[in-house]
């Protein structure tokens, strides 16, 4: 398991993306898959920072763990912000997405893009920590 710590502030989004992009490239993900994973981690990191820490009046870090094995690139975010399970959140449905812009809810697209973008997404709450788990399938001939 590789591990890297980022402060839980919006300034970290750019370095988190760059870090995950490198992991993706090392894992041999193609351009599209790299972008989807990068987008997913950006969305979840944003939520941890804004809702989990800032809005809750807390501060803390995001620990980014990663592992390449079994033809999978696994990236795990660990944070001590308020407990939040994105997989239980009501996602917008097709009907919402077909509404004219001016009638749409602002928001709700981040978790949707995350779940639709990665190959697997899991959430756990372990040792007082949120664990957001992003998994991309890797073509083993490319690593």
């Amino acid at each position: 398991m590789e591990s890297k710590l980022f402060p839980g502030t919006l300034d970290s989004l750019d370095p988190i993306r760059q870090y995950v992009k490198e992991l993706s490239q090392q894992a041999g993900l193609d351009k599209k898959a790299t972008y989807r994973l990068t987008l997913a981690v950006d969305e979840i990191a944003t939520n941890i920072i804004l809702y989990g820490y800032e809005q809750a009046g807390r501060s803390g870090d995001i620990q980014v763990l990663s592992e390449l094995s079994d033809a999978k690139l696994t990236v795990i975010f660990e944070d001590k912000a308020i407990p939040f399970d994105p997989t239980t959140k009501d996602l917008p449905d097709e009907e919402d997405f077909n509404k004219p812009l001016e009638e749409r809810q602002i928001g709700g697209m981040g978790i949707w893009l995350t779940i639709k973008g990665v190959d697997e997404f899991k959430y756990e709450y372990v040792d007082d920590k949120n664990r957001n788990i992003f998994i991309m399938h890797v073509d083993p001939t490319k690593t």
């Binding site: 944003t46 097709e94 004219p100 928001g107 697209m109 949707w112």
Partner: protein, 105 residues
């Protein structure tokens, strides 16, 4: 044969975005939208050829634009990179904006 003429003066807000648009930089994008909103443009033209990343925070600002400037606002997204088109399509926003290679009328 006779002669006919009609005329209209149209205000177009043109923004050039480059680099990465995340929830931090989307604040600058939103500030620009608020600035041009004061002039009530009819078209919002976003030149995004060199925009390499856009998260849902960018999409939020698009929706905000329409709510701030009004439902008659037409949004043009000029030359988006394929990954950004994918994001627009996944969230249904491609129904509400014009994805084009060139802004014209």
């Amino acid at each position: 044969m006779s002669f006919f003429i009609t005329s209209e003066v149209k205000k177009v807000a043109i923004m050039t975005l480059s680099g990465e648009l995340d929830s931090l930089s989307s604040r600058e994008f939103q500030a620009e939208i608020e600035k041009v909103a004061a002039e009530s443009p009819k078209d919002l033209v976003l030149l995004v050829e060199n925009l390499s990343f856009m998260s849902s925070a960018g999409l939020r600002v698009l929706i905000f634009s329409k709510q701030k400037i009004g439902p008659d606002l037409s949004i043009y997204i000029v030359k988006p990179q394929p990954v950004i088109v994918e994001t627009l399509e996944k969230t249904g926003l491609h129904h509400s904006v014009n994805i084009v290679d060139e802004y014209s009328f």
